[in-house]
Amino acid sequence: MKKIIALVLLVVMAVVGCFFWGCGKKPVNTNEILIWHWMTDRHQAFETLAQQYSEQTGVAIKIQLFAPPDTYSQRITASAQANTLPDIFGILDKKEIFADFIKYGLVADLTDEYKKDDGAWEQAMFPKALEVNRFTADNIYDVKPGIYGVPIDVTNIQMLYNKDLLEKAGVKEVPRTFDQFLAAVKKLNSVGISGLVSGWGEIWLADAFASNYAFNIMGEQKIMDTYQGKVPYTDPDWLKVFRVFKTLSEAGAFAEGVVTKPNKEAEQDFALGRAAFAYNGSWCVNVYHDMNPDLNYSAMLPPKMNPDRPMKIWGGAGSSFVVNEQSAKKEQAIAFLKWLSAEKQQAYLARETRNLPANRKALAAIPEVLSDFAKVMDNTTHPTIWKYNELPKVTEAFDKGLQSIVIGEKTPKQVAEEVQKVKEREMEKQRNRQ
């Protein structure tokens, strides 16, 4: 009998005890620099570099990986709340959230570091890569102007074409204009090859595609005006953007199932020659290489709709790290990031992971297809460097509207009206809040 009581008490004690034991336990205190990241494909390379760094300097680096990015993002939010962020981490959210992290003292200002020695560090990096981490003097978020993050690589998103398939369908020239593209699609379809594949199940990719055409059709100023509420989404130019999707859809340019396809599946489709065109980021070079080393392809800008304006694509820093302002090892953390973004390490990363380096001196190390991506860096833009950004709910309505058009459920006009309605409602809400 006593045994039984003892057992029960043991269970109760164990449960209660766990808390006290837990409470009494000191947080792990070491001299290591702790890094949290989400880049599964680069984990191995990071580990190798961290090892080298420890050997060279005696500073231990601990790298922890959290994937997929959604989980990572949630963990960062939760840790910010609990004040347990690591020494180095990345913020995957919009600029507005990045700004909040800075305002609440969670991200260190690196401007002085970049400016040291006549700006040696700043000049080594691609300006485009730094822009994402920069808050300009006229930023609307009340953040002290400066640079707050360290880019690890550069990326941009454009179109890829399969040379063999184009040849098979008798498409002689790579389409530069929208009409040429439609003609190419027609030829491809007639021999049973799908046109464009992309992972629009991850909806921001569709958003990026629309944004490319918005830049081509109306230019940055008008887009910013729209975000500020001065131009409605029912404007003829925006209708043109929506119509791009309708035209492509009606011409049979999209591969089946494009709207719910995860990007990994889309990458597989392109690598296995199931579609002649893909819309994908420069990280794809690595992915395609693993899936099909013999794939004969090249990169191109999305075909222009409006010949008078340049086609802008999304690009900039692919991934960036920031330093925890509250970390006791801030100086060491910055030193490590400086080392990581230096030429030698960047060249190693570029070689190992087939990504574009953020350090301009490391550019020599990249494979040929990647240099196609590198060439168009001047054409890139990104929401994080725009002065204004759209309200999240409007973006959601916009993106879902694109899906509706692609599957032929709604007309561009209907979608434009609906998005405008959401825009007005959200603007109203904003005004009421102030």
Partner: protein
């Protein structure tokens, strides 16, 4: 008479045809997984045959080593056993009290457990993390175990209580007359009688813990604490380009739980038929 036999045979034929076709859909994914796991990345998209032309078991070794499955496997085993034992002990104590003992507020406490089943867990991630952090339980095995015990507790308490309610109390009365305490009755009389229901709870919760990865990713950060499914998620992310290795990893993760089910399934049939769900 002949017609009758033919009709009966026809009926059996149709019945088996129906059962077999369902069985085939159930076996198909498993078969597909194993089929893909022994191919290599070049043949996987070209080989259209039902059985692979070249069989290569090396993928399993690669997956095991690359995915660091050794540690993950051990952790998952540890989590599954400790959570299941914890749930069985804690929930059977509570269920026994709800069913047999009287104290003020008994029904209210019980309804609290019932209502908890309705609250969707994903909404509470951030509060849970902040709380766990205050208790210094993030990134500890014990923290994750306690959380998982909590997740399975409601259903287990409800199932066991239903079972105890249906159970005749003669034996317990006899034990009480013999001078046994409540604790002895619970442990020596009620729990052994409830063994079939316990088997049900074991398989329910074991499945749940084995396949869980969302909470684990939120609460744990060191690889040495991670369970198999988290390892698998990362593994999938890294190897989506290499289908065979990914499938080998997925098969490795599925095998133990299928074995557990095979071992427990007799008890489950017995357990449920003894009244665990007859509420």
């Amino acid at each position: 008479m002949n017609g009758y036999i033919i009709r009966r045979n026809m009926r059996y034929f149709v019945l088996h045809l129906f059962l077999m076709s369902v069985a085939v859909t159930c076996l198909f994914p498993l078969f597909y997984m194993i089929r893909c796991s022994v191919m290599d990345n070049q043949t996987i998209f070209t080989d259209k045959g039902i059985l692979p032309s070249v069989v290569n078991f090396g993928n399993y070794a690669t997956a095991w080593v690359d995915g660091n499955f050794g540690t993950f496997f051990f952790n998952s085993m540890l989590y599954t056993t400790s959570v299941v034992i914890g749930i069985v002990v804690i929930s059977s104590m509570a269920a026994y009290a709800f069913s047999r003992l009287s104290f003020p507020g008994r029904d209210w406490f019980y309804y609290m457990f019932v209502i908890a089943m309705m609250i969707p867990l994903p909404g509470s991630f951030v509060p849970l993390f902040v709380l766990m952090n205050k208790l210094h339980l993030t990134n500890t095995k014990i923290g994750y175990i306690l959380c998982m015990i909590n997740v399975g507790l409601s259903l287990s308490v409800i199932l066991l209580k239903t079972f105890f309610d249906k159970m005749p109390s003669d034996l317990e009365d006899a034990a009480r007359i013999d001078g046994c305490t409540k604790w002895q009755i619970w442990w020596n009389v009620a729990l052994p009688l409830a063994r079939p229901a316990v088997a049900v709870i074991v398989i329910f919760n074991a499945l749940n813990v084995w396949n869980e990865f969302i909470l684990a990713q939120l609460l744990l950060s060191e690889e040495v604490h991670m369970p198999l499914q988290v390892g698998l998620m990362k593994f999938i992310n890294v190897h989506t380009v290499n289908y065979p290795i990914m499938m080998a990893g997925l098969t490795i993760a599925a095998v133990p739980i299928i074995l557990l089910y095979l071992a427990m399934q007799k008890h489950i049939i017995k357990g449920l038929s003894s009244g665990a769900v007859v509420g």
